[in-house]
């Protein structure tokens, strides 16, 4: 059967073919790539033209060379350091996200929990992470990766908790009335309305949380720990005036952060393709 008046409907947009999608992708990213490549080139040229000293700002070529040279061996093995830092960050991300989710569900379910927990959570969030990092190192062991994970977790916890709570509670009142008219149980409302409603909020939080987990891990490392971690490499190479290595380490963390972010974006497309933000991006 056809609809009586299909003219009022918006036709389902046809999914573009692979070739066309690739071409569109190139066109979409071309300006960014051009600006990035141009910037690197200009950087290289300026360093050479004005003979800038390496400890002020190394040339991209020097940073690249340092990256290759220190990848697997030497005083600052970058790959191993990045791997350890990533491990700490992921651990912190898992702990912080889990705690954030548990508190968010409790807080959105019981008003008492909200009154009890929310002020404390806000107070904890107000503590500068730099100040708490040495304390966590002392508590959980300065060489124990758990100390870095807990610092990362502390940073991750708050945005996850706040966003997911918002997603679980900011449900259209009419949607709740609809569920009420069907005599739906609280569990059914949670499963069929609140959780799907919270998913976009959760992914928004995760985009911030992945970056925060890396920051937390690196900050924790600044205050001591095993030497093959990005934070220590940054501190030590800088004090040895090997800024090419410092920059290489920073580059490595930045790339890790970007990969983290892209993974979340991919998960968004899988889990919430219906949400306006995803629809707009994948157009």
């Amino acid at each position: 059967m056809t609809a009586a008046a299909p003219s009022v409907g918006v036709p389902l947009p046809r999914r573009p073919g692979r070739g066309l999608r690739f071409a569109r992708g190139v066109r979409h990213y071309a300006p960014a790539i051009a600006v990035f490549a141009g910037g690197i080139l200009l950087w290289e040229l300026l360093i050479r033209a004005f003979d800038v000293r390496g400890f002020i700002l190394p040339a991209p070529s020097a940073i690249g060379a340092a990256l290759v040279e220190n990848w697997g061996a030497g005083r600052w093995p970058l790959f191993e350091s990045a791997r350890t830092t990533l491990y700490e960050a992921i651990g912190g991300l898992v702990i912080g996200t889990s705690a954030g989710l548990v508190v968010a569900f409790a807080v959105s379910r019981w008003a008492n929990a909200r009154d009890a927990v929310l002020p404390i959570a806000i107070a904890v969030n107000a503590i500068p992470i730099i100040a708490i990092a040495p304390i966590f190192n002392a508590w959980f062991g300065v060489t124990n990766p758990l100390s870095k994970m807990m610092i990362a977790a502390l940073l991750v916890f708050f945005p996850v908790m706040i966003n997911v709570t918002r997603g679980l509670t900011q449900v259209e009142p009419a949607a709740l009335e609809l569920m009420r008219s069907y005599a739906a149980s609280q569990t059914a409302v949670l499963r069929k309305v609140r959780i799907p409603n919270a998913l976009p909020f959760f992914f928004t939080a995760m985009k911030v949380a992945t970056t925060l987990s890396l920051i937390g891990a690196v900050v924790g490392e600044y205050f001591g720990g095993s030497s093959t971690v990005i934070g220590r490499v940054v501190v030590q190479s800088a004090s040895a005036l090997r800024f090419d290595v410092t920059w290489a380490a920073i580059l490595l963390v930045a790339v890790t952060g970007i990969v983290f972010y892209l993974i979340i974006v991919m998960l968004e497309r899988v889990f919430i393709p219906w949400h306006a933000s995803v629809r707009a991006e994948s157009r």
């Binding site: 009586a4 918006v10 259209e172 009419a174 008219s181 069907y182 005599a183």
Partner: protein
């Protein structure tokens, strides 16, 4: 077909209902006062009145989405509360209230899932309902891919999925343009005739109320009261010709005058109730 059948046993019985909204126990607004109304099985009743007359509140009382301050509401021989727990209602709001993460089909299945109906029956029933509102080609679409009118049809399909004894519609077409609204009116009448469901319909459009209903309940504001019941003996099936029928115009005028009469001052109200007696004698 002529007039829709009106069974003797009422499906909705509202007696002596007051609704007072309060803040911290302090009465603020009397939304409804001394409401008595009976709605017969299979009737199509519209509630019409100025904003603030409590017509939506009255609908929500029937659906047990809010409780009366005084009086009682019975639906299908039990309290409105028991009827809601028995899943006897279909609700359609002004906004379609579709879940954006569900396709058209999945939205229609929602009440069936809540009922615990098994998967194959669910598929079957949802397909049936989607066909009823003529959205078969759009079953796999998401709400954002549909126009406002189509979204509202999905909401109607969902509301009818459980075969409710009564369908409550709260200004369902208020947000649609005039042409879509007229088409939706015909659609609702068609569905009403095919399913035989009792429909209570809140609107602020006089033509819509007259075109759709077997009876129009005219209300006045502050406090919300029923000032007049207007029977609409227009033949069925109703179509575009109905809108040009002189009887249709007369009824539209009658409802408009009833609304104006119920417009405000106590004097007006007294007049209105006189008129109501006269009208009931004349038309009933």
């Amino acid at each position: 077909m002529t007039d829709a059948p009106r069974a003797s046993e009422p499906i909705v019985r509202i007696s002596g209902v007051d609704k007072v909204f309060d803040i911290d126990g302090r009465a603020v607004t009397t939304a409804l006062s001394e409401i008595d109304l009976e709605i017969g099985r299979g009737e199509f009743v519209s509630l019409i009145g100025p904003s603030g007359c409590g017509k939506s509140t009255l609908l929500r009382l029937i659906g047990d989405l809010t409780a009366p301050t005084a009086g009682r509401v019975d639906v299908n021989g039990k309290t409105a509360h028991a009827a809601r727990l028995g899943r006897e209602y279909g609700m359609v709001f002004q906004a379609p209230v579709l879940f954006e993460w569900r396709t058209v089909e999945e939205n229609v299945k929602l009440p069936l899932e809540l009922l615990g109906m098994d998967r194959s029956r669910r598929e079957e029933r949802a397909a049936e309902m989607i066909a009823l509102v003529e959205l078969g080609d759009f079953a796999k679409h998401h709400p954002y891919q549909l126009s406002g009118g189509m979204q509202q049809r999905v909401a109607i399909a969902r509301a009818l999925a459980l075969e409710p004894s009564i369908l409550l519609m709260d200004e369902p077409f208020g947000a649609l343009d005039e042409m879509t609204r007229e088409r939706m009116n015909s659609e609702v009448l068609r569905i009403w005739q095919r399913t035989g469901t009792t429909i209570v319909f809140v609107t602020h459009s006089i033509p819509e109320a007259v075109f759709l209903s077997t009876r129009v309940v005219v209300m006045s504001a502050r406090p919300g009261r029923i000032t007049r019941l207007v029977d609409v003996p227009l033949p069925h099936p109703r179509n575009e010709d109905t809108r040009e029928d002189p009887r249709y115009f007369r009824l539209v005028t009658e409802v408009r005058e009833a609304l104006r009469a119920g417009g405000g001052s106590p004097l007006d109200l007294a007049e209105a109730s006189d008129e109501r007696l006269a009208a009931e004698g004349g038309i009933g």
